[in-house]
Amino acid sequence: MSRETEKAWDAGLLEDDSGESALEPTFRDPAGHLYLTETHALRRVQPAAVEETLAFLKSPLRASLEDSGELIASRIAEPGAHACMVAGELWLEHPRIDPISYPWEWTTGQWRAAAELTLRIARKATDAGWALKDATPLNIVFAGARPVLVDVLSLERRDPQSSVWLAYGQFVRTFLLPLAAQRFLRWPLQATFFSRDGYEPRDLFEALSLLQRLHPDLLDVVTLATLFEGSGGSKTRKLPVARDPELATHILHKRIDRLGKQIRRAARSGVASRWSGYQQAASHYRPADTEEKQRFVQNVQERCRPSCVLDIGANTGTYSLMAAEAGAQVVALDSDSGAVEALWRSAAEQGRNVTAMVANIARPTSAAGWRNREQLSLLDRLMGKFDLVLMLAVIHHLVLREQVPLGLIGGLCAKLTRRWLVLEWVPPADPMYQEWLRGREDLYGSLSEEDLRHAFAPFFHVLERRVLGNQRVLLLFERNERGEAGREADGQAGGA
């Protein structure tokens, strides 16, 4: 993009109205813009930020953060290496982490891990003479179960006398207050979808009781911050600067350390989970059935050797971890945050490549941001990226709770997987099916495995079938060659 083109684009004169769902280059940071290609994330550095960026790339801080895996790897792109590059400009090349999850799809533990990473980097930067100018969860991406800072341009040289962390307000709004709101007000973390810049102290202040406003964890960042707000107005803001650089560093350390304590306390409260104890409490599964099911999935892994697996309704991740252990990159979805929390913790502890998301495939996360092009919808991030999709004991939820016809479910699966699908059929006689039937026998009481196979026939054929002792059926499907034609039938083929 030329300078003129960029100016026109900045002014909103050039707009791509093709209607396709695609990410636009980032535009908020005046230091640069991020572009995504199939294989890389490319960062175009604005001329004013070139010197600072090159200094950071040469710094020991960058090397240390990259070595520890806390910061995304960067290298200067060769001229002409990518079609979008412009000669004479500084472009950085990063590996692309794909698919990614967004903060509104994270569990409490993931929020805490992302916040602690941000504070750790801010502290290391302070010691090395740098400052983290941006501190938002949107700059953190989970590579598998591990958080990584992906915004290299967030680091700038620090005024040694500055005792203020300029990103403090942003950190409090986007990390601390959402966690505090969950702990004290039961506002779900998923609600952060609606507020790009987090919560203002006043948002919480107005919702808290008098006693809660005096709580030691909220007194400064909510109550006093709200009371001080009125006095600032629109005047030029002044920052306290220390006469002694040693004092400035000391103050910054204290501030970052206190934030760390506040984050740990705010993230202490767990959320109620209906399903995280499901595997242990599942009375409709005898140990022999569980073993049989695990053996079936294990055999499928060995037979298909998928490199990318999507586990829909992953629960606490038994099968996601199994797939990751076999070497696959796994994306695991579940709508129960307690279950996903347990899954993410296991994956993090075992160092498995599992991206855990709190998401409901029947109500997938929407696209977000400016023109809906700053963050992709869940389906846009997942479509066609997997060799194998697992849908174990999910189908009855989609049919009975979400009331989605079988044909539509088959159509979606055919768009998600490039080849294989493992599906667990739960028959109407099953106790879990009965629990959700709720007097709708006429509609769903006689649904059979045959109905499922008929509804999936335009998209898939069955390669393998196994009936468990509890009468549930495991099916390995393969996508039809006529997948495209089958997908056109999506919407017409209704099984239920």
Binding site: D29, P30, A31, K133, D134, A135, T136, S162, S163, V164, W165, L166, A167, Y168, G169, Q170, V172, R173, D197, E200, P201, D220, V221, L224, A225, T226, L227, F228, E229, S231, G232, G233, T236, R237, K238, L239, P240, V241, A242, R243, D244, L247, H250, I251, K254, R255, R258
Partner: protein
Amino acid sequence: MKKLLEIASIGLMVVGAALLFERPAYAYADPGTGLLAIQAVGSALVATGWYLRKKIYSLLHRGGATGRQSDELSATKEDEGASSL
């Protein structure tokens, strides 16, 4: 006694503020008005603790206390100062 404590507190805050001065803020991310004020107050408190730590250390050091003892004492004082904000 209460009056004395009040005067001492104000005096300490003045000491903290005297260690700091002001410059205009140039931020890309919105630093927030109230949260920026919280940082300013917090900075003054921590600066007071830092100043006291140095003073106490130098006093004890002059009085023959070991470095370790004075460090422990000053660290306690400092944490008390910083814990409120």
